[in-house]
Symmetry: C2
Subunit: 94 residues, 2 copies
Amino acid sequence: MPDVLDGDAVDAALADRGIAWSREGSDLVKVVRRTGFAGALEFVNQVGALAETADHHPDIDIRWDTVTLRLSTHSAGGLTDKDLSLAAEVDELG
Amino acid sequence: MPDVLDGDAVDAALADRGIAWSREGSDLVKVVRRTGFAGALEFVNQVGALAETADHHPDIDIRWDTVTLRLSTHSAGGLTDKDLSLAAEVDELG
């Protein structure tokens, strides 16, 4: 089980590693807008491939052209390096 | 612009046409569970293809193996036959 990071540690890691997600309590959240529903769905499939490889899956909400991702390590009861790693990989999608 | 249907008309149509969605106020809601995240994402892509063809898009929430779909005709301010039609098509996915 990965170690749970406290809020300060998460905030520091986000800043140090340039990860463009927001911390909301024990979740990391990212809102991405694409071109239309098709663009949003394409992005979700890209995220899905990363999630399957990592065996770690964000909550995903699709609203037409906008996708909200929410990450937490529920099995550990908070944010862990698994969340930071997947967040950074999603950022690389551009 | 399609006509907005009142709640009784929607409930009657759901029953008459055997559409397996729940009405929650001015939304139709369906919760579908698939096999794992991959199964959920496959279902979302199937729904997405129907939505693009219909040019009518549900809100879609993915939680690991569970997908929640929420339909309403926001431009009309309520439920219309566009929602019932897409709901029926989604049901045909099985």
